[in-house]
């Protein structure tokens, strides 16, 4: 996911900002524009694959795990927004301003849910317009040709939103947050220290302790060497993302046409 996203973002940005000098350099690094385009389309296919794999996973594994589609969609561990999320948002702002305690987050915090659906939204918008741009002859059999122009704008601006958001807001929420800094490895390892868990997601912790299932979820941590490799990968991704953001900001501010 991370790899395909970063590939898509960087190849796409060289085209969107093709009038800047860094884009020229970057496209050369990809082996020329044609090759950058191929990488972009390949990564897009990978991302479609990941998307469908996730849907598949949802359909078969998660549903079974959580006990049926109703529980998946409407239970306490759902990704869909609930009343509690609204309460959490209000409580968070109060906490920011020093007017209340930190909210007791459950399985999924509201910003994690937002990130999740942003991806869905992004997949839909960017993916469909991207397909239109990839196969214009096919789509113009039943769509007017001027929609290709519209698709270009939507695709590139939505991509700008997505990449900008990921490399700033998401990075902060997940990695640059001072309590998590330098990064949260949970996406890679699938596990976090129990103490952290207790502080971060207190509602979830309470629930597991109460039901006695906490012991089931305890695992040995990974070997240091594994952790180190993961950290290196994560740092690289972080670095690339940060550079991209800087470049994008520079292009938008100083070189925009």
């Amino acid at each position: 996911m991370i790899l395909s996203f970063i590939s898509l973002a960087s190849t796409g940005m060289t085209l969107k900002f093709s009038y800047t000098s860094w884009a020229h350099g970057l496209s050369r690094a990809f082996g020329g524009f044609e090759s950058a385009g191929n990488i972009h389309r390949f990564a897009a296919t990978v991302m479609f694959g990941i998307f469908f794999a996730h849907l598949f996973d949802l359909a078969f594994h998660k549903r079974r795990e959580l006990g049926g589609i109703k529980a998946l969609l409407f239970g306490p561990d759902t990704m869909l927004p609930r009343k509690k999320d609204l309460q959490d948002i209000k409580a968070s702002f109060k906490w920011f301003l020093g007017k209340g305690p930190r909210p007791q987050f459950g399985r999924w915090t509201y910003w994690e849910k937002f990130d999740y659906f942003a991806v869905f939204w992004g997949m839909f918008v960017i993916g469909s317009t991207g397909l239109m741009l990839w196969f214009p002859e096919f789509f113009t059999r039943f769509l007017p040709g001027s929609l290709i122009n519209v698709a270009t704008i939507i695709h590139s601006d939505e991509a700008l939103l997505a990449t900008g958001f990921i490399f700033t807001v998401h990075f902060f929420n997940t990695h640059l947050r001072p309590e998590k800094f330098p990064m949260d490895l949970v996406i890679f390892t699938g596990s976090m220290p129990v103490d952290e868990f207790r502080e971060d997601k207190p509602a979830e912790y309470e629930k597991l302790v109460a039901s006695g299932e906490l012991e089931n979820y305890l695992v040995e941590p990974y070997q240091p060497i594994v952790v180190r490799t993961i950290r290196i990968f994560a740092w690289s991704a972080l670095a690339i993302g940060s550079f991209m953001v800087i470049w994008i900001v520079y292009a938008m501010l100083f070189a925009y046409r």
Binding site: A23, F96, R102, G145, G164, F181, L214
Partner: protein, 685 residues
């Protein structure tokens, strides 16, 4: 007039005196009147009558004098009685016949010579056939000798003399003339042919050898045609003949008269001057006699005057004689080349080219005595001039760029004085497709400097008659690229009456003047959009907002560029059915790259921009909608993050403190064991 006042005397004496007085008056009056009555108009009163004639010796002789002719003649200002002196003091009408006019009253030198000569003596003898002045020169219509219409102008001389001396004339039959068929022989001789066929008026005529007023027989030692004087007579024109005479006397005369030096006429019979066909350039050997020596220099400035005969023999002018170019040479008994005062004028043979050259910038500068201006010899050389088809010649096509570069290379004299916008011309040309074709591939017909700028008519581009002036460039390039010129003339960029007054592009606006590149090279393909963009600025900018434009900026040349859709030389307005982008043709144009293109596909807006709310409103609003979404999202997230940050920092500090405290506790409790990365238990998600 004296009037005697006789009124007071007595009547008789007064009457007698009065009669005498009247008689005196009348006589005086007659005398005075007689003097006045002799003006030309008085003579012409009768003699301007065309029918006036008299009989003389059985023939009717006209006495008509044409006033207009007379006034134009060399004697036009003179009085009639100046020549007809015996009319002085006579009344009119005068007694006929008048004595012959005496030319000697003014021309006494000629008269004296004439008196000594054959003709003069015959006249003195009263020979009726003898020629008088008027027989050769005319009477009332004498023109100066230098005037070609004079009766004794060189071209007329043989006919004047021939009147008496032609075969069958009374003079030839009845007098002792020792030459026969004079006129016939003369007219076939080289002198005669030169004069009569070729109009060379400096050819020898009768007058040249026989001295017209002093014609003496060859036996007379004073005669110009006496044996011992003949050489001097001939050498008046054939000045150097003694030095250059080729034909060795065969030995015949030596055998016959061993001790006698031959005179010209011994071999070259008079009147029958033999036509000799001399070798072309025979005299050149005489020039080369001195000028092939290596140390021959000019006395004025010491420049070398050496001519390399081998170089000359290989040149285009090998068959041209020295004097054909150095035509200022005159016959001289000393060095004829000393008479040359003028530079060689190539226009003598190459008049057309020189005229063109004089109109060119080079010619104008040369006329101004500009030291840097190229003259004929600078480019073509002098004695070693080779034709332009000779590969050694500096004017051979492959060598021309080098030739022009002598002055037009950056830093050389012409480039330094140049005030236009073309720079590094020779370098650019060498790298251009024309330059590569010519210099690397040796393709001799490729365009080089003179093909576009003309060889002798170079003018700057802002001159209307220049071959590289914008209105002429199409024709110039079209000399080779004819098909393109035709296409272009039908396109929207060609100048058509009343179509537009905006400046229209010509060949060099898109292709540049000297850096003309292969059109399938990437460098050309990408820069051409700058060319279109120079005039079509707005639409070029919008092109770069589309996918084609963006990708082309990364150097991708396979994408559609201006000319892929619009054509290059055959651009037509979209409303024209022949345009590549007309309704009927546009899908085919898209299909050049997009095989499955349909009409809807061609609905793609190739120059759409989201900046134009009027033209493309839905793009404009889509863009601003997306932008609003982006701004909104970042704003909210940004606020959220900014507010979170201080809380998050506080949390981190607290966690560090507790971690340190608990670590200290645990170390005291447990036995030493390997510290794992994270504390003990982890939770699987």
């Amino acid at each position: 007039m004296i009037m005697l006042s006789l009124m007071d005397r007595d009547a008789t004496a007064g009457r007698r005196n009065r009669r005498a007085g009247w008689a005196a008056t009348v006589v005086l009056g007659l005398f005075a009147g007689g003097a006045f009555a002799r003006s030309n108009s008085d003579c012409l009163d009768c003699h301007s009558d065309k029918s006036l004639s008299t009989k003389r010796g059985g023939r009717t002789v006209s006495l008509f004098v044409d006033k207009a002719v007379f006034e134009k003649s060399v004697h036009g200002a003179a009085d009639c009685i100046a020549c007809h002196a015996d009319l002085a003091g006579k009344h009119l009408p005068h007694d006929a016949p008048l004595a012959k006019a005496q030319c000697g009253s003014c021309h006494d030198a000629e008269q004296k010579l004439y008196a000594e000569c054959l003709h003069g003596k015959a006249v003195a003898r009263g020979d009726g056939l003898a020629p008088l002045c008027q027989d050769c020169h005319g009477a009332h219509d004498i023109l100066p000798v230098k005037n070609p219409r004079s009766a004794v102008a060189p071209l007329r001389v043989p006919f004047v003399c021939g009147r008496c001396h032609k075969e069958g004339a009374p003079v030839q039959l009845q007098r002792e003339i020792h030459q026969d068929r004079i006129l016939e022989n003369y007219s076939e001789s080289i002198h005669g042919l030169g004069l009569l066929q070729k109009g060379l008026i400096v050819s020898a005529t009768c007058a040249s050898c026989h001295t017209p007023h002093r014609i003496l027989p060859h036996t007379d030692p004073r005669s110009t045609i006496a044996r011992r004087n003949i050489a001097a007579t001939c050498a008046r024109c054939h000045a150097q003949i003694e030095e250059v005479h080729r034909k060795v006397i065969k030995g015949e005369l030596w055998e016959k008269e061993a001790s006698v030096l031959p005179a010209c006429v011994d071999c070259h019979q008079p009147h029958k001057i033999r036509k000799v066909f001399y070798d072309q350039g025979m005299a050149d050997a005489d020039c080369l006699g001195c000028h092939e020596k290596p140390n021959v220099v000019a006395s004025k400035d010491g420049r070398s005057l050496t001519v390399n005969p081998a170089e000359l023999a290989q040149s285009r002018h090998a068959k041209t004689a020295c004097s054909q170019c150095h035509s200022g040479v005159r016959p001289s008994p000393a060095r004829p080349c000393a008479t040359i005062t003028t530079k060689v004028d190539c226009a003598a043979c190459h008049a057309g080219v020189v005229e063109e050259y004089q109109g060119s910038t080079h010619g104008v500068l040369a006329a101004r005595q500009d030291a840097n201006a190229p003259t004929c010899r600078i480019c073509h050389g002098t004695h070693g001039t080779l034709g332009k088809l000779n590969s050694q010649s500096p004017t051979f096509p492959i060598n021309i760029p080098t030739l022009c570069a002598r002055c037009h290379r950056e830093g050389e004299k012409a480039a330094v004085a140049y005030i236009g916008n073309q720079h590094d011309i020779t370098t650019k040309y060498t790298e251009s497709i024309h330059g590569k074709g010519l210099l690397q591939s040796g393709l001799v017909v490729t365009a080089q400097c003179t093909d576009c700028h003309s060889a002798h008519r170079e003018l700057p581009g802002n001159d209307l008659s220049s071959t590289v002036n914008p209105q002429n460039i199409g024709t110039t390039c079209g000399r080779c690229h004819h098909g393109i010129e035709e296409q272009f003339a039908r396109s929207v960029h060609a100048k058509k009456a009343g179509a537009t007054d905006k400046p229209l592009p010509v060949c060099n606006d898109c292709h540049s003047a000297h850096t003309i590149r292969r059109t399938d090279a990437d460098g050309f393909k990408l820069t051409i959009m700058d060319q279109c963009g120079r005039c079509h600025t707005d639409i070029a900018k919008t092109y770069f907002d589309t996918y084609h434009g963006k990708v082309s900026q990364l150097g991708y040349t396979k994408t559609a560029k201006c000319y892929d859709c619009h054509g290059a030389h055959d651009i037509l307005p979209v409303s024209d059915a022949r345009s590549h982008l007309s309704r009927g043709n546009v899908v085919a144009t898209c299909r050049k790259c997009h095989a499955g293109a349909t009409r809807r596909f061609a609905g793609y807006l190739t120059h759409a921009t989201h900046h134009d709310a009027k033209k493309y409103p839905f793009l404009f609003w889509t863009f601003w909608g997306m932008t609003g979404l982006i701004i909104g999202t970042f704003f909210i997230s940004g606020v959220h993050t900014a507010l979170w940050l201080p809380r998050a920092l506080k949390m981190r500090r607290e966690r560090k403190k507790t971690k340190a405290a608990s670590a200290g506790d645990r170390r005291e409790e447990s036995a030493a064991g390997p510290e794992t990365g994270e504390e003990g238990k982890t939770d699987h998600e």
